[in-house]
Assembly symmetry: C2
Homo-oligomer: 190 residues x 2
Amino acid sequence: MTGEVRQRMIDGAIALLATRGLEGTSFATVLARTGAPRGSVYHHFPGGKDELVAAAVERNLGRAIDLLDAAAGQSAVAVAEVFLSAWRALLTQTGFRAGCALVAVTVGTDSAAIRQQAADAFRTWRDHLAGLLEQGGLTRDAAQRHAALLLSASEGAVVISRALGDLGTFEAVATSLLDGIRRDLEASPG
Amino acid sequence: MTGEVRQRMIDGAIALLATRGLEGTSFATVLARTGAPRGSVYHHFPGGKDELVAAAVERNLGRAIDLLDAAAGQSAVAVAEVFLSAWRALLTQTGFRAGCALVAVTVGTDSAAIRQQAADAFRTWRDHLAGLLEQGGLTRDAAQRHAALLLSASEGAVVISRALGDLGTFEAVATSLLDGIRRDLEASPG
C-alpha cells in the first residue's frame, strides 16, 4: 500500500515537471494532484523535494527506455518513428501543455546532484537509442550521430511546439530526421 | 539614467533566466545581481515580474537577430556556423551553466500571455534564420526545413550539454546539421 502511494506521488511529480516545470512541482502540488495523504511526504521522501525529483527522473528514464524497447530489432527508421511518435502523442494528448520532465529538471535546478542525475539519464537514453539504431542497420558511428541528433532535435522541437501550440515545427524536424536516417541506411554496408 | 537602470535590469533578467530558470528570476535576484535600487521595480516594471520577463524575451530575440545578421549575405553554411558558434560560446563561457532564456520561459511559465510572447519570438527567430539560409543559397523549402532543424536541435543540444557539462553532444549535433546544409547546397539549382 505504501509502495502504491509512493509510485503515485512519483507519477504525479513527472506529470507536474512536464507541464509546470520544477517550480510548479512541490509536495503541495503533488499531494493536491494525487490525493496522497499529507503524512506520505516525509514517510516516503525523507530527503525532501530533491529525493522526489530524483525518483521522478529515474522513473521517467525507465519509461523512455521501455518505450524504445517496443521497437527493438526493427529497422532504424522504425526505431526513430517510435521515438518521435511518443513525443507527438505527448504534445497532442496534453494540448501542447507537456514536455520533457528531464529538460524541466535541467533548466530549473540549482542542485549539482540533481543535474548529475539528469546527465546520467540523458546519457543512458542517448546510448540506448544509439544501440537500437545500430541493431536496426546503421553503422555504429552513424547510430551514435543520429541518436544525439534525434534526442536533441526532439527535445528542442517539443519546447518550441509547446510555445507555438502546434505541430508544425515538430513535423518539419521529424521529416528531416527520418530522411537523414533513411539516407544513411541506404549508404550503410549491411 | 532611468533608461539605463531599466536596461540593466532586463539584461540581468536574461542572464538569470538563462542560468537559473524562471523560478530563479525574481525582482529580488535581479536587484541583487544588478545593484539597481529597490524603488526601480515598480517604477520601471509596474506590471510586475511578467512585464520584466516580457522585456527580457523581447531583448533576447533582438540580440539573437543581430547576431544572425552578422552573417547576412554569406553562404548558408556560414550562417549556420555563426548560429552554432553563439551557442558554443554561451556554453563554454559560462561553464555550461547557461542556456536559452526563451526555453526557460516556455518550460517554466503558466501565463498564457508570456507563452504567446515566447511563441512569437521563436517564430520570428526561425523565420529570420530561414531567410538568411535562403539568401545563402538554399531553396526556400530547404531553408525553412533547415531553420526548424537548426533551432530545435541547438536548443535541445544546449539543454543536454548543460546537464552533461561537456560539448560532446553539441558537437555531434553541429556536425550533422552542417553536413545536411552542405548536402542541400550542393543539390540546389543555384
